[in-house]
Each structure stands twice: as C-alpha cells, then as structure tokens.
Symmetry: C2
Subunit: 502 residues, 2 copies
C-alpha cells in the first residue's frame, strides 16, 4: 500500500489516509481478510503521528470497512456485496462511495469536492423529532432522559433576528399558501445540506417538508399503502413503533446482531419495508457497518416494492471520528426513503422534518398525496432556510457538539470506576449510552433504586417490541442534564446500585 | 305574541325580536305552520322601524325557523325533531338554543350572557385551510378564485409585534416539545372563542390543534377507523373529498336539496359519518336551517358510532344577519366533530386548525393517537394565542368583513344588469357566489369564453363528485380580487357571455 501524503490543501491527514484505504477496499485492491499494516508501522512509513493513523483506522472500523482482531491487528471486512452493487455506480457522481473509490485513482480530483468532507461535516445534523418528553419531571432531582436535548444552547438571539428579518421583508406571498412539498428554496438548501453533511445526493424535487416525523410517517402510510408489512429491529425507537402500530401495517421484528438488523432474517420476514437507523441505532447505539448496509440494499434490490426507511435522527452528534454517511448515500437503485429532522439538532419546537423519496415513490406521492397541504408555515420555512443557508446551523452544531462532547466525556469519566460491575455500550455517538449491570441487578431494580434516590434512568425494555424480563440494561441520556446534574446523578446512582444483588 | 322591547342594555332591537320568536318556536309556543304577523304590523305594534323587524325575520329565515310564502307572509317551519331532542337540554347552560328558549321566559337572565350575542359575533371566524391555490396565475388578468382571500388585509404590523414579543419573553420551555393536543392556553382561548362566536361549548380538553385541516382529517381517519363509510353532499368541498378518497374510506354521496344534505337519504346510505358544512356549504352557499340540523342530529343519535363532521370553514364572513351558530352548538349527545381553521380568516400561512372531539372519540384519540406529536410549533401557538386573546383577531375580522362586504356588494351591483340571462345564488355569505346561465351557455362555455378574455371563473362541476355534463353554473370568488379587478372582470365577462348560446 503506497500513497503520498499531500500537505497542501485543506484536507486533514487522517482523512487522506481514511479515504485512500476505503477507496482501495471499495475498488477491490484490498481484499477481504487482508491484514492492514499496524498503525505504528503505517505512521512511520507515512511520517505522521501515530494518532493520525489511529484516527483513520477508527473511522474505517466504525463504518465497517475493517475489523480489529485482538493481538492480531486490523483486517479488511467482507464487502463482496459492495462490488456487485457498485457495477453501475458511474452515474452517481456525487456519491461518497464512488468519491472514495475514485480517491484511490485520482485523489486530487475527488478531494476538490469531497461530498462529505471533514470541514463540511460540522454542518451535519438532524434529529429525532417529537421524542423529548415534557421538559422536566419535578419528581426527579436528575433525569437522564435519552430524549432531551440541551435547550440552554438554543440560539435565541439569532433565531429572533432572522424571524424579525423575515417578517420585515415579508410580502403577502409569504402569508399565502406555499407548495405542498414545502418551499423550493428550503428544499434546495436541505438537498445541499444532505450533500455536504450526509454524503447523499438528491434533487429538491424528491424532498417533502413536513411538521415532524410523525406527520411524514402518516404521509408515508398513504404512499406505501395501508397494508404494508414492515420490519423493525428489537429494540427499536418506540415512537416510530407506535406510529406504525397505529397504521394497518403488520410489524415484523427482525433479529439484530452487533451490526444492526440481520439481512438474512430480513429475507425470511416476507416484508416490503424495513425501518432502520444505520448511523446510530436507537437505543443500542449500533453503527451499521458498510457491509451490512450493502446486504440490506441488496435485499431491497430483490423486489420492486422493497424499500428501506432510514431514520437519520441524530447523526450530527458523533464523538469519535467523522460522521457516518447516510445509508441514502450508498443507495444506487432508489431503495432508500430518508427521514431527517431539525427538531433535535435545533429545538423540538422547530417542527420541521423532511423526507427524501426515491423516484417510484415520488410518482406515487404526486399521484396520490400531493394535494395534502404543507404542514409547515412559509414563515417558519423561511426562517429555517436562512438559519441553514447563512451558516448559523453549522455554527450552532459546532457549539452543541462541544457542549455534548463535554457532557459525554464527563459521564464516561464518572462511570469509569464502575467498570467492574457495569458495562458501557453505545457510547460513540448520540446523546445517550447504555449501561448493563453485571452485579445481579435487574433493569427494574436499576430503575427503581435510582428513582428512590431521585434519579431517573430508562429501562432498555421500554424500547423493546417484545417483553424483555431478563434485561439488566438502562439508558442514560445526557443531552438535557447539566454537568452538575451528571456528577450528582452518577454519585447517587453509585450509592443506589452499590453491592448489586449478589 | 306579546313581549316588551327593552331599550336598556346593549342588545340590539332586532336581536331581541329574533331571540324572542326563536324561543317561542323552540319551546313549542309557536307551532309548525302558524303564520307570523307581517313585518309592518309587528313593527307598528312594537313601535320599532320596519327594517328592524325585517332584519329579525331575515335571520330566522336563514336559520330555518320560519319560511316565507310569496304573497302570504311568514310561517313557522317544521321543527318537530327539535322538541324531541331538546328533552335533556337543561344540562347545557351555555347552549344558544336553550338560551333562546329561555329568552322567552326569562329574557333578562339570558341576555346577561348571551352565548353568541351580536357584539361578540364580530369575533367569529375560521376558514378553510389549504384551499387557496398558488397565488396568482399570470395567464389571467382577473382570477375570480373562490379559494383566495384578501392578503392585503393581513395585519403584518401586529403579527410582527406579537412575534417579537413572544420571542423576547420566550424561555427555553417555548422551544421544548409541547402537548400533543396543542398548548392548553391556546386551547382555552379557542374554546372561549367558540363559545362567544359560534355559540358552541366545549372543554379545552376536547380540542386538538393541528397544522391544517388535511392533517386533522388524517388524525380523524385513525380515530374513526380506516374502514369508515362516509356521506358527502354533491357538490362538496373538493379538497376534503380528495383527502377522504385517499383513505380506505367508502364515500357515499347523499342527495341535497335547498336545505343541504337530505336526512332521509342519509338514513338509507348506511354510513357512520357524514361530512357537512352547515353554516355555509361549499360550493352552493346553502345555510342549513335548524330543522334539517335537527334531522341530521337525530340520524346521528340513531347509532352509537354515528358522527357528523362539521367543517365550519368560513362562518365569519356573513353579509346578511347575524352569524349562523355552529351545528356543534345544537349537539346534545356528543355527535358532532367540529373542525375550524385560522388559515382563511387570518392567512393561509397560519397553519393552525383545530378539531373538537366528542367524549367517546376523545377517549379513542387518547388511547390510539395521543402519541402523535403536535404539528404546530409552540412559538406559532403562542403568537396565535395572543392574537386572539388580546382582541386583534376580532379587530382583524371586523376589518376584513368590511373589505369583503364592499367587494361582495360591488360584485352584486355589477351583476345586477345581467339579471335576465343569469341567476345569482349563494350570495348571503362567504367569499364567492354562484352564477347560473339561463341563456343557453354551458359551464364549459362560460369558463372558456371567460378564459379567452383573460378572466378565470370556476365551473361548479369542479366541486361535483359525479360528472355534471349539464352544469350551467360557475363560481365567482371575490376574496382575492381587487375592486378594480371586479369591475374590469365583470365588464369582460359580460362581453364574453353576451347573447349566450341561443
């Protein structure tokens, strides 16, 4: 493996390494099972800091291109599906996968306009709408809700300024009825945002703006048809489960492993749609590796009516490595229905979500649903459009990432000395992590003992589709908790859980 | 018939007369078929201007309590259903029907707090959301769209001021997620508004706030169940027809006569829900008289699962007499689902509608749909709440009523000399009227000849559920047309249609 590190340009070293190796794997130059050089030897060879290579490898690990075998090193994962599906990739020039593949051959050209390069990554950000519960439950001194966000970070001043501007320059058009899919300008801004931050390309025409994910799923019911059989993971995001449950849908739970929904089980499930959160599964925090993504896409390819619903609810808050590209970015044949939201990255009160429809479904939407009036006012759309377009969103996300990273690191620090009795997982991204008791305490006991001391934690089984009597896992969210709250809460929890149930 | 005119207090003379006679009819003191005194003799007897009695009689006529027989005078209509349904009326103290009935016996007490007295009537106002098309079609010099409103009247200044205030005093709560049904304060304001302007009483707990009528109908589908058989009039409001059509509903069209949907036909239709616009049917402009309302309510009473969906889309714009009370105001047994909107009375961009659910459906909503997040942001809810609560809405409506009345009168004036060849109908309320050609021109010819001269009029058959090849009727909306536009447009239409097709 040879390549030259460029010191000019604005791409960071670790990104060059990451892109190069990814390109080699995707183009088949590095084969399944091949061992990569150790981080030390590659760092020496490239004359870069070892941490730079560590960083690149960590990103490749997260995305599932390579795996780490203890005491043996790093090996290329199986991505055979990738090669088959990439056959007709040429047409999708903006695709990050292709960009990466090309990077190996023509690094300079690709780097000029990387589809989700590091400096744009800061723009990343959508989130689960409608998930946060009523603000603060006075019954608890500390509430580790996995649904809350840090509202103190909301950019009041900017939001007020933009709103005032929009109203000042508004003409009566802005108070008239807008397009059913949402204002074209906002859709164009969203499509650019998806390109730069999520590595995904779509036309503004494919985007439907709506007041929250729940509403968009209601529309989707009309588009997919009421009798859809839909696959969901277990555990999964409860809100979506309830929404689908209120449809005439048949929900089939499909087993998941450490890579997410199992494609082989999906095949057996006899469904036409599968709901997944590849960038950060809720609640487990699993990041779906590229191999599994390709398997799911291949499944979708196996039937004209098969679709993957990608709920990309909090991809912007990732604490290790670069953002994981959207599944939509790997979609070659119009198989991914992408749902993003601004309710979590900005504020739940910003009732704006959006859905990207592949062509066949867009045609169905146009024929059967395009007469539904848009649920977001043009004023709100204009404010959001300016907030993103003028760079405020990017700055806001940078600020929030710092705030969340500090909370995240503090929480891990506080958890460090519980190592023996508790196992932490899902901690690389998002606004919560999972804690599994290995001292005999059940989920119910963890929750109850916390509550007895005024600390609220959330049982994993709340997200389970089926009963989970053996659960020993709780979710600890830190988005809406202050740093003092995290310290205090963890102190109380340690007392509460001390000694376990041995 | 004897009663004393009070000259003290703030109720107008014609209202006292109207309330008194209505009370006599509802309490059975005046019976079906009885002849009322002529307006002249009653005016002499009461020592009031004849126009005052005319006004009172006109209102009773509009609401269907009395009818006029040419050359014979005014007679009491059949309201036998009324008496049966009113059996348990005592419990509903705020009801206008009861208020009116009591007025006969205890006028002073009732007048102290009339549920939809004249001075509050100015507050009236909701409208069809999502009806206006894309602003102005450049292909037409004048567009008599029945869906457009006068956007020049939008209270920019006030809206801006309130928004600024709301954002200035906003704390982070306002950016957090609100209640699924909408903020309690707004719901309380809406319930007061319904009481004072629409004569209808409901608790804030019964109200669900949503981003437009289309969205609320989507929720209603979940509440009523997907397999509902629903009755609609023909012609009816096209948007609702399309929305219901996108459900798994079976739509049954039920014949209408000059009073609206026929109750006897409804009985035969084997449906569980009926969609009506009793205050002002779109497109015919029919105001459903009280007798027919009672018949419909009786039909609903005949089955536990039967409901009437009242779309009260533009009741605030009435040009003769007082506002017609809502059907909800006569509902004794929780049979009316009421839908109102602010999109027409304020601006289409104000994406706020609301739905009032009767108790059994409220329970269904709570069990099956209350997890759907509210589609209106808390900021928008707060602005609207202040707009209504601080009296701006009332003032806005007063202003708009004047503007629309002027346009309405001008349009009628321009139409006056077409009397021989055209018949005007549905002209007492709302923002459009109907024009039927009696000179041989078909609807298609009316529309086409108008278009040839750059004037857009709308065929009645656009609102027809079934084909209507014999239609000779077009709709002329005046909400979004300037007074100059009305003059110019009518001038062009007269030329276009001259001579007809004889």
């Amino acid at each position: 493996m040879t390549f030259r590190i460029r010191t000019d340009g604005d791409s960071r070293l670790y990104e060059q390494i990451y892109e190069h190796i990814k390109g080699e794997i995707r183009s088949g130059k590095l084969l399944f099972g091949e061992r990569l050089p150790s981080t030390r030897s590659l760092a020496e060879y490239l004359q870069v800091a070892r941490s730079t290579v560590d960083y690149a490898y960590a990103q490749l690990l997260s995305e599932g291109y390579i795996e780490s075998r203890p005491c043996k090193g790093y090996f290329v994962c199986s991505v055979e599906e990738l090669l088959q599906l990439d056959g007709d990739m040429g047409a999708y020039s903006g695709d990050p996968g292709e960009g990466a593949a090309r990077a190996g051959r023509d690094a300079a050209r690709t780097r000029q306009n990387p589809p989700w390069a590091g400096r744009d990554a800061a723009r990343a950000g959508q989130s689960q709408s409608g998930t946060s519960r009523q603000a603060f439950d006075p019954g608890y001194a500390v509430d580790f809700s996995p649904y809350d966000i840090d509202m103190a970070g909301f950019p009041f001043g900017v939001w007020k300024k933009i709103t005032k501007n929009v109203l000042t320059f508004a003409n009566s058009d802005l108070f008239a009825k807008g397009e059913a899919q949402g204002d074209y300008e906002l859709r164009r801004t969203i499509s650019r945002y998806l390109h730069s931050s999520r590595g995904a390309d779509c036309r503004p025409e494919q985007i439907i703006v709506g007041a929250g994910n729940d509403y968009l799923l209601l529309l989707l019911e009309k588009i997919l048809g009421p009798r859809t059989r839909i696959a969901m993971e277990n555990p999964t995001y409860r809100q979506s489960y309830r929404i689908f449950g209120s449809f005439a849908y048949t929900i089939v739970t499909v087993d998941m492993d450490e890579h997410g929904m199992r494609a082989d089980k999906l095949e057996q499930a006899d469904v036409s749609a599968a709901y997944v959160m590849p960038s950060h599964q809720f609640p487990t925090g699993t990041v779906m590796p590229i191999g599994r993504r390709m398997e799911l896409l291949k499944w979708a390819d196996g039937g004209a009516d098969r679709y993957l619903i990608e709920d990309d609810y909090d991809s912007e808050f990732r604490f290790r490595g670069k953002p994981i590209p959207a599944l939509l970015a790997s979609d070659r044949h119009g198989k991914v229905i992408y749902i993003g939201t601004f309710s979590k990255a900005i504020a739940p009160a910003i009732r704006v979500s959006f859905m990207v429809l592949p062509q066949p479904l867009l045609e169905k939407y146009e024929a059967e649903c395009s007469f539904y009036s848009c649920t977001v006012s043009r004023i709100d759309q204009s404010v959001l459009n300016e907030f993103i377009g003028e760079g405020y969103f990017e700055r806001h996300l940078n600020k929030m990432r710092k705030i969340y990273r500090a909370k995240h690191d503090l929480l891990l620090e506080c958890l460090a000395d519980m190592g023996e009795e508790f196992r932490v997982s899902g901690e690389n991204a998002g606004l919560h992590l999972l804690l599994t008791a290995e001292n005999g305490l059940s989920e119910r006991e963890l929750v109850q003992r916390g509550a007895d001391r005024g600390v609220r934690v959330y049982g994993l089984s709340e997200s389970m589709v089926e009963e989970a009597p053996d659960s020993r896992t709780v979710l600890l969210g830190f988005g809406g908790v202050s740093t003092d709250g995290i310290r205090k809460g963890l102190g109380l929890l340690k007392e509460a859980w001390k000694g376990g149930n041995m």
